[in-house]
Symmetry: C3
Subunit: 315 residues, 3 copies
């Protein structure tokens, strides 16, 4: 997330009780985790495995648990527990102030938009014109929804990222990475009933213009979906995925995290996408492969008894 | 859907600015899309590929974008954009007038039926006697629910069909086919938590007497499910499917559109049904086959390394 | 479930019009179905196939439709329809008295717990300190929720078990086993959006401390999940399953009923678990097997065309 105005890194260092090394006069413009960093951002890293990646990322300020070398112009903020320091900053700059009203007074709702009964709309939500928000929809804080968007009943927009800091030497292994990102839904999108769209950990989950989801579609944090995509019922897409324009996912397809699906790819029902795939092709299977090759495999699978009969006495 | 009373085709032709050819004195009794037509109905067709099917269907009146031959007694209504003309009729005869109350005043609720807090019940909904509607259920307009029906929390009854008119030469590829059909739930049905049942595009989605759904079951538009079926959690059935009486679908089964599953078929968990299958059999796999044959395949799959060792040096 | 105080078996026999044979002076301390019986419990059995199992279980009192031999110290309560007698007892001891308020007056909510708008909290629910219950969550009667628990929108806690008495000679085949058990969620658990957790038929469904669920996770009745487990989106676990501590289920995994998954097992996405598996291993496939063996199978599957070419002319 971006701060409302730049924050002196000196102030942040003092706030989280960090030793500040390097560019102590810098101004911090945003807070992000490593998937989504830009110059001016502050990030954290607490595992030696990721030190290099983090220090050499676009981020300008690094909360870290070890003094080490870093590029000129950047700064380290050295603390014992970088994750806790990061959470302290999230809580300070995006405090949890739950709306006690079904529709927050800070929400903005456009002209000719219909909001049915039993809908929840959180703080700072923006909804465009000519939308229909069906009953029992929940829209968490900070979501941005364009014009002509339809959201069916029971759907959740902006639930927290499923993203945890893991340490197996404490009683509770998984400590939550607080989400401060948003969900952004562009114009002319339709979201079915019972869907769940998680917001970004620190960036945005984006649904592109004209994309349509059937019921019970799940979209993970920070995933970016292109324009004119079509997802059938019970599709699940994990976090930090990029799905380009015009992609069709048929029912119950699963997509693993941090991968890319190229434009106009079509993936048949119940398939599983475990790594990045090219666009303009048709896929099938778990893990997916070219649909024609997969279909040939299925035909030959039925011949396995025959194959076995032929070979069982070979040595 | 059926009109409340017959409508002169002449009036409709004028309303949608169509050239009327043929039986200009006819009375239109209903509006339907091609999956669900009866004599007296008006339908639309905009793609040459479907001209013949549509003109020779049971429908009596055809909105079309080309003058062509047609059976005696029928009429063509020729317009440039049949889909838009169809939508204009849907909006006129089933206008969208969202209830602003959690329970619409036009809804009828039977004796000894319990409606929990935070339930939404739309216009013209009919609910029978001795039902339990758990909290946060959403029931869209026009749904019909029998006696002794239980619907668990978070479930949506009557969300719109996932059904679009596709044209890739416009900025927004998918244009929504407005649903004017209903969901009809017969007596003694139980629907789990977090389920979604789409209403018919113009006909009815029907759940037969005594059928039981576990949680997160999805049923597509115009699908007709028989009596005494049992669907486990996370089953997804696409649109315009026929499932006969006594069918059992175990967890996470997916069923593709416009097919039939015969009575008393049993389908094991995570299977995918891609085409029609006979009743009174047990199935497994994606795509499904006879469960015993599939199990034999799975046993032989485990022998693939052995098979490969035996054959790799053959030529 | 346990009764609030012991109930004389004589009183119960009279209440359900049963012939009482054996220990007629006994005190009944609880009502359970066969998956969850303890000494002092009363159970029912109506099928000869299960007579022995039931009579020789830990239960002290057996509602049965046949006079037969039984261990000393126990009692039989002989009736024509044991299932109906059981339901009569459930209705008497745990009557259905739905709360007409969004938050029942008998619910207890801890300090610093945030309950968002449009949440339903039923009778006798207990929620600990420092929890967040997001909008449109439904919590059925008798659920127990610990401290520091987060539940996201649209989730249902405590829906009825999917558990029926089946008789195909009546018009409605499936007659509901009324649930009188609970859901118990321990401290530091996070439940995603759109999840459904069924309560026990007569025992408890338990989610262990520190376990985290992503969105649309389904948990069946009487299932017991250990501490520090991680379930990704659209996982479905059937009823009466035991999942030990530290288990990871990736997206869309399905788990069949009445089995055990050992501690620290990891199961890759879209896998199906059909029988008990050991802990400390990594699994993949439907049905699951060792992930490395499964991966080798997948590699060899791609060689099936080559294998077929090599063997098709063998005889």
């Amino acid at each position: 997330m971006k701060f409302k105005s730049p924050v002196p890194v000196k102030w942040i260092a003092e706030f989280i009780s960090a030793e500040l090394i390097g560019n102590s006069e810098g101004q911090v413009t945003g807070l992000n985790e490593i998937h989504k960093v830009e110059p001016g951002d502050i990030v954290f890293v607490d595992h030696p495995k990721y030190y290099d990646k983090c220090i050499n990322s676009a981020a300008s300020f690094i909360i870290i648990n070890k003094k080490t070398t870093f590029p000129e112009g950047k700064a380290l903020l050295v603390v014992d527990a970088p994750f806790d320091a990061y959470l302290k900053l999230v809580h300070h700059f995006r405090p949890f102030t739950p709306s006690s009203k079904p529709i927050s007074e800070s929400a903005v709702i456009g002209q000719d938009t219909v909001v049915f009964p039993n809908v929840f709309i959180g703080n700072n939500v923006i909804i465009g014109d000519n939308c229909i928000i069906h009953p029992n929809v929940s829209i968490y804080d900070d979501a941005v929804i364009g014009n002509n968007v339809v959201i069916h009943s029971g759907t959740t927009i902006g639930s927290d990222a499923f993203y945890f800091n893991t340490k197996k030497d404490r009683e509770v292994w998984y400590k939550k990475m607080e989400s401060c990102g948003r969900v952004v839904i562009e114009d002319d999108v339709e979201i079915g009933a019972g869907c769940t769209l998680d917001r970004g950990v620190s960036g945005d989950t984006i649904i592109g213009r004209g994309t349509k989801f059937d019921n019970m579609v799940h979209i993970g944090h920070d995933t970016v979906i292109g324009k004119n995509c079509l997802f059938a019922a019970q599709v699940a897409v994990a976090g930090a995925v990029i799905i380009e324009d015009g992609v069709i996912l048929w029912g119950q397809v699963g997509v693993s995290k941090t991968l890319t699906i190229g434009a106009n790819a079509v993936i048949f029902a119940q398939s599983g996408v475990a790594s990045s795939i090219e666009g303009n092709k048709v896929y099938f299977g778990t893990p997916v492969e070219d649909a024609n090759i997969k279909k040939r495999e299925i035909v030959l699978l039925k011949r396995l008894p025959e194959i076995w009969e032929k070979v069982k006495n070979l040595k």
